[in-house]
Symmetry: C2
Subunit: 191 residues, 2 copies
């Protein structure tokens, strides 16, 4: 990736996230990146490809960021679940003031045959299986249901964060997950 291509991708990522994908034209991306349109098309070939690399890049960075937090967490499954919320909280404060970029992209990309579509659904499926796998360790046999609940809390918190509707929704979701895991863990231990 050449320096000019990197600047294009950075400018596109910022503009796509802040203003929406369809509202941002390639001329604006090129101008903000300090690059000519020819360079942009030489590197990426199409706007669609820039969209794909924007989402793929965000997905990759989020997974790496989350992996760091998970590596630093205690090995207990419940601690790792809370680490996911902690990671989201920091990530959102730094990169996601308008909510989840995948959810926002999903609002604009309706066609499942769009090359960016599997990136969107793929991240959500991956997050869900992460939650359910951890949940299965906490409540053996009931991992799916507990994972669903954690997913709901997490997705809801991202949306609420983007809408700025009440203070620190991700922190609140984390606390709810904590009490939920505590009572569920107790119930599982009693069985």
């Amino acid at each position: 990736m050449t320096p000019a291509a990197l600047r294009v991708l950075e400018a596109a990522a910022r503009l796509f996230y802040e203003r929406g994908i369809h509202a941002v034209g390639v001329d604006l991306i090129a101008a903000e990146a300090g690059v000519t349109k020819k360079t942009l098309y030489d590197r990426f070939g199409s706007k669609e490809q820039i969209v794909v690399e924007y989402l793929a890049g965000r997905d990759e960075r989020w997974r790496a960021f989350l992996a760091q937090h998970l590596d630093a967490a205690q090995p207990a499954a419940s601690a790792r679940v809370l680490a996911v919320f902690d990671a989201s909280r920091v990530w959102s404060a730094e990169n996601s003031s308008k909510g989840c970029s995948m959810v926002n992209a999903h609002a604009e990309i309706s066609d499942p045959s769009h090359p960016a579509y599997p990136i969107i659904t793929g991240q959500k499926e991956w997050m869900l299986s992460l939650f359910t796998d951890l949940a299965e360790n906490i409540a053996p046999g009931g991992g799916a249901q507990l994972g669903w609940t954690l997913m709901l809390l997490h997705e809801g918190a991202l949306v609420a964060h983007g809408l700025n509707i009440f203070p620190d929704p991700i922190g609140h979701a984390r606390e709810q997950a904590r009490t939920l895991l505590a009572t569920t863990g107790v119930a599982a231990a009693k069985r």
Copy 2:
């Protein structure tokens, strides 16, 4: 509202929701409504105004739909909370296969000075205060926090429904709300 204007609004609502606001042009709206562009502009004046009436109309219909469910529910606050989830479940199955139209519009309309912006945030604030008011009846003094949790479950369920990531997320959210209200009610009663 003339019949032609109604057809315009119906076509715009369907297209905006399915494909996104910026991806749909006025020519397409007019064609799908079986109406000339002149009629469209005579009735609405601008595309922006159509967007505003699209969101305002959906907001109004959702509130009326929800009011019906609340009127039919038992008067107990916990039953009314569950009625909200029940209403959302039916509504989403019929009208919202791609998730919440307000959240999706928020992804495309970033400018807070856009005339549609207060409709989006207004509905979310209204839903939050609905939850918190009901929650305050269930857990006096802790309505805000419980209301936040209900809001997270609800928003998360709408997103999960739109992403089609696991079966019946709104039904699952309802069950989680039920157990949450039960334990919270018990805790409040013990105090």
